[in-house]
């Protein structure tokens, strides 16, 4: 810096008109008689002009903020919790079991009903005093051979057992049926005693479904099983992604 001269800061501020009136008057008075300070001032002015002249860098891209995307309709987050998926899987599995049990019951009942329709004409005459015309007797007679037929079915057509998903279940369901139908317990001994030969000629029950076809109940149960398995696997997949 030049001792006794205007400072660079004063000269720089003078260029930008950032001096107070008093400062400005003082510097301008000095400049009027000092060639060195006038040269400094001119060099600073040229420097600032050179800075003004620097090329403007081209913007490489737009810096606009991306507009937030519209909210996507998705399943609620809680639906994708592993716990929830496993609970759904359990429900589907339970539904599958229920459907299987119901299906077995229906299959057995249908088989039983078919056998009943065939056994009834033979059994009714064996009852002797029963009034064939009464509705109550007709309803009762439909239930009469219930305990006997499943046993006969098991005995007469052993190949029927593999068709049932659960042979013990198939046997239990008809055995439980006589409880409400127990209004006429007489037929049971009749079927097991002397009248048995009359019931015996009844043809073996015709299976409702073939060995390779599935009933609607079984299909529904299979569907539930698949859903249960899929949900169970998905729950682990969701858990693994976290």
């Amino acid at each position: 810096m030049h001792v006794g001269h205007a400072t660079i800061e004063d000269l720089s501020a003078l260029l930008d008109d950032e001096l107070t009136e008093d400062e400005r008057a003082e510097v301008e008075t000095h400049l009027s008689g000092c060639d060195a300070c006038r040269l400094d001032l001119e060099q600073l002015r040229q420097t600032t002009l050179a800075l003004h002249a620097l090329p403007v860098p081209r913007v490489p891209r737009s810096f606009a903020i991306a507009t937030p995307p519209a909210p996507v309709t998705r399943a609620p987050v809680w639906l994708w919790q592993p716990g929830w998926l496993r609970a759904c899987s359990g429900v589907a599995a339970a539904l599958m079991v229920v459907l299987l049990l119901v299906d077995v019951g229906h299959t057995s009942s249908a088989t039983f009903g078919d056998a009943t329709r065939q056994a009834a004409p033979a059994a009714v005459p064996a009852l002797g005093g029963a009034a064939p015309g009464s509705n109550a007797d007709q309803g009762a007679s439909a239930n009469v051979p219930a305990p006997a037929v499943p046993r006969a079915q098991v005995a007469v057509s052993p190949n029927a057992a593999p068709q049932a998903p659960s042979a013990p279940a198939a046997a239990r369901a008809p055995l439980a049926a006589p409880a409400p139908a127990g209004v006429t317990p007489a037929p049971s001994p009749a079927a097991e005693s002397g009248s048995a030969p009359e019931a015996a000629p009844a043809p073996p029950p015709v299976p409702i479904a073939g060995p390779h076809s599935l009933s609607p109940g079984q299909l529904a149960a299979a569907g539930c099983g698949i859903v249960a398995l899929a949900l169970f696997i998905t729950s682990f997949w969701v858990a693994a992604r976290r």
Binding site: L44, Q46, L49, H52, L54, V56, P60, S62, F63, T67
Partner: protein, 194 residues
């Protein structure tokens, strides 16, 4: 009349942006991105780092627009980009950087220089003189460089620069004077000024 209309637009955009209107904020981005990128580029000396800093700065500005209490949006956003540049500079210290001198030697001029820029006013400054001043600028202490970039390159007033640099007016004045003196010496040393 143009200036007031521009300011009216800006006030409306700021108000709408404070309500969460992204398009309104992007109008502000569109208006200032060239200036903001220029500041970042001159501060960091690297176009890629500058672009990252500018993107960060505008995102930060959008998040903080609710805190803007009027005044010069330009000064406010400059302060944000300056902070983003300082953050970028701290991060860049951990990796080797390409100096401005090396960039200029390789490219012959500042990268992405806008060829439509005005010729030096009343000066017969050669490309060599501009290259000299680019290099000298990049070698200034960061506070001095920022002062000269804001005032001499970008044309901010002392008051706007003080807001952007978060310092007093007197500090701007002294930093600017020292920076100009250094740049002048660089031009004199290379024979680009007499």
């Amino acid at each position: 009349m143009a200036e007031p209309l521009v300011q009216i637009d800006e006030v409306r955009w700021v108000r709408d942006a404070q309500q969460g209107n992204v398009e309104a904020f992007n109008n502000l981005v569109e208006r200032y991105q060239t200036y903001v990128f220029s500041v970042a580029y001159r501060t960091l000396g690297n176009p890629d780092d500058a672009a990252d800093a500018v993107q960060d700065a505008f995102l930060s500005a959008f998040r903080a627009i609710g805190d803007f209490r009027g005044g010069s949006f330009k000064s406010w956003v400059t302060r944000i980009v300056v902070n983003a540049c300082y953050d970028a500079r701290r991060a860049a210290r951990r990796r080797p950087a390409t100096s401005m001198e090396a960039i200029i030697e390789e490219a012959g001029e500042a990268p992405w220089a806008d060829t439509s820029a005005e010729d030096p006013e009343g000066l017969a400054l050669s490309r060599a003189a501009l290259a000299t001043i680019e290099v000298a600028l990049s070698e200034l202490p960061k506070e001095q460089r920022l002062a000269v970039v804001l005032v001499d390159v970008e044309g901010l007033t002392y008051e706007e620069a003080a807001v952007a640099m978060d310092c007093a007016l007197g500090t701007v004045r002294s930093r600017l004077a020292r920076a100009r003196a250094r740049l002048r010496d660089a031009l004199l040393a290379t024979g680009n000024l007499s």
